[in-house]
Amino acid sequence: MDCYDKRNIAMRYYVRMNRSERIQHLMLILSITTLVLTGFMLEGETWVINSFGSASKLIFFWRGILHRIAGVGFILIGVYHLYYVSFTKDGNSWIRDMLPKLKDFKDAMQNVAYLVGLSKERPKFDRFNYQDKLEYFSIYFGLPIVAISGVMLWSEYNWNQFYLDVAMAFHRGEATLAALAILVWHLLTVFFKPGNYPLNTTFIHGMMSEDDLKHHHPLWYERIKDNGEEKESKS
């Protein structure tokens, strides 16, 4: 189905994220935002919370509870996503395209060479480029670390202080790394990358225009434009 973009040009749209993926992503946004906010409250300067006056005591009380709820949510999303990529058709194709290949390494080298001016053109990316894969697997690398150390800190009565210290160091370190990585690598891209500003809305409607697709994911475009994987767009 053809529709019109903001420049009034007829544009074909392709499905980039299906409904399940969009919901998973939304839950991830909610849980990670809550986790980061309530977690770093402990590390931050006390005047920030104290500026809320008498509510600060309440905020600090709910902080711990919200952090645990969001943490459980985060783990559940991770588990559900494992089920999704293992047992659903869309999930299977997702993980097939997501698994790192030798081409990603070459792409990364070529893209960096292009960025510093050593190469004339960008590499041709498939469905997920190396940046997407790095983002995806860094979350899957971090999730078990923060989850296990978080559960250890939650059940502190059963542990020796040494294990708790180690868990705390991992929890804090991994959380800082992940939060900064998401901020710099993902949020900066979807909000401020030229062409995306003010916000790349793909995560809401799941669609990507033919133009964008051709430009950013040419190999995937070649693959799906004829073989029927393409889906009708709504709007």
Binding site: R7, L42, T46, I49, N50, S54, S56, K57, I59, F60, F61, V112, Y114, L115, V116, E156, Y157, N158, W159, N160, Q161, F162, L164, D165, V166, M168, A169, F170, R172, G173, E174, T176, L177, L180, A181, V184, W185, L188, T189, F192, K193, P194, G195, D211, D212, H215
Partner: protein, 393 residues
């Protein structure tokens, strides 16, 4: 004008002056006596003036400001408000007051203790304090006895907390006891001991005033207690939560028979933070707090570093490290504690240290690389879009 007339008028003027002076003096004295009827020793005749005070040379050669002003309204509402000045300041008997010693809280008052019928005294509590680690007899380094807290270091003769809740009982008392002021005072006396008198934040500040003083702690071969504000207890207190443990809840829990005046060294078997008693302390044994009822021995014994966790990053530590060379190596070396030489302990510290260091390096490298990549990418995309005439990207 005749001479006699002038003389008459002068005389009259003199008379008028005398009358005015007498009347004024009479009224002033009457009012003064009426106003200060309670001040039988008449100390307030001078000490009511707010400007009263002087500068003295202190022990360290610096000038010290002494204020001798007494606000009667405030004093009457303090815990010692019903005492006469000379009940405590016993050696003030001439003007000017020379050779006056500091007030000794252990001396007998002229107030009768209703439980024994004898003169009341704080002697018992002073004796307890002296035997504790904070007292002259209990301290391990009597050569530095000037560092030890005195009664007035912590107790400032505070104003009684007036509470509408407590004063509700006043009309019950009034049925028999006719002097309302006396009844009011009695209720305050009781009520004052039933409520929490100092907010936890104040307790932490009070204890920290010595236990974060690096030079003072070095003299007494103690670790400086700087990490407490980074713990969950410390943070919650900072945000005004009174339901978590402050210093005294762990070091002087009443449940196992300790009071703030009888704190002993952690090596003493009676101490609440001694390894043998730790579990009970975390469980708030015998208390009403119910802090960690499920605390296992493992949990309780593990808390070796409840003050020091994360302390290495705090501003206080950095300050201490700059000014005190003995602290530069980890904040623990200054103490003669055997814990430092324990290979197990140093292994544990090393593990945590390396995890933190590796994460710091990883964060710097990964995030730094990401920032550079993103900047280059954004610049490249902007360039591509500019080159593309219809801006279709």
């Amino acid at each position: 004008m005749s001479c006699a007339g002038v003389y008459k008028r002068l005389k009259l003027k003199k008379m008028k002056n005398i009358i005015i002076f007498t009347l004024t003096a009479f009224f002033i004295i009457t009012f003064a006596v009426l106003l200060h009827a309670a001040d039988e020793e008449n100390c307030l005749m001078c000490h009511k003036y707010s400007g009263m005070g002087r500068f003295e040379s202190g022990p360290d050669g610096k000038g010290k400001k002494r204020v001798f002003f007494v606000n009667e309204d405030i004093f009457k509402n303090t815990v010692h408000g019903n005492l006469r000045c000379k009940n405590c300041h016993t050696d003030v008997d001439k003007l000017p007051h020379t050779g006056v010693k500091k007030v000794n809280c252990a001396q007998n008052c002229h107030i009768k203790d209703p439980s024994s019928g004898r003169e009341f005294s704080h002697k018992r509590i002073v004796d307890t304090l002296e035997k504790s680690i904070h007292g002259v007899k209990g301290t391990k380094h009597p050569e530095y006895k000037d560092d030890l807290p005195t009664c007035t270091y912590c107790h400032k003769n505070p104003v009684y907390i007036t509470s509408a809740e407590g004063l509700k009982f006043l009309n019950i008392c009034g049925q028999c006891h006719e002097k309302q002021n006396w009844a009011k005072r009695f209720i305050k006396h009781q009520y004052y001991r039933m409520i929490k008198r100092r907010p936890s934040k104040e307790v932490v500040t009070l204890c920290s005033s010595c236990h974060q003083d690096s030079s003072k702690m070095a003299r007494h071969k103690l670790d400086i207690a700087i990490g407490f504000r980074d713990t969950f207890h410390g943070k919650a207190i900072e945000y005004g939560n009174e339901d978590v443990a402050n210093c005294l809840n762990c070091h002087a829990p009443r449940g196992i028979g300790l009071t703030p005046h009888s704190i002993v060294s952690k090596t003493d078997p009676l101490s609440s933070v001694n390894a043998a008693n730790r579990q009970k302390t975390c469980q708030n044994y015998g208390g009403t707090g119910g802090c960690h009822p499920g605390a296992t021995k493992e949990f309780a014994l593990g808390r070796q570093k409840i003050h020091a966790s994360g302390a290495k990053n705090t501003e206080e530590f950095l300050k201490a490290a700059v000014y005190d060379v003995s602290l530069t190596k980890g904040g623990k070396k200054q103490s003669g504690n055997k814990k430092v030489n324990n290979p197990d302990e140093s292994f544990r510290e090393n593990v945590v240290f390396w995890i933190n260091t590796i994460y710091k390096i990883a964060i710097a490298v990964v995030i730094g690389g990401m920032i550079i990549h993103q900047m280059l990418d954004f610049i490249a995309v902007a360039r591509e879009r500019r080159r593309n005439s219809h801006g279709l990207l």
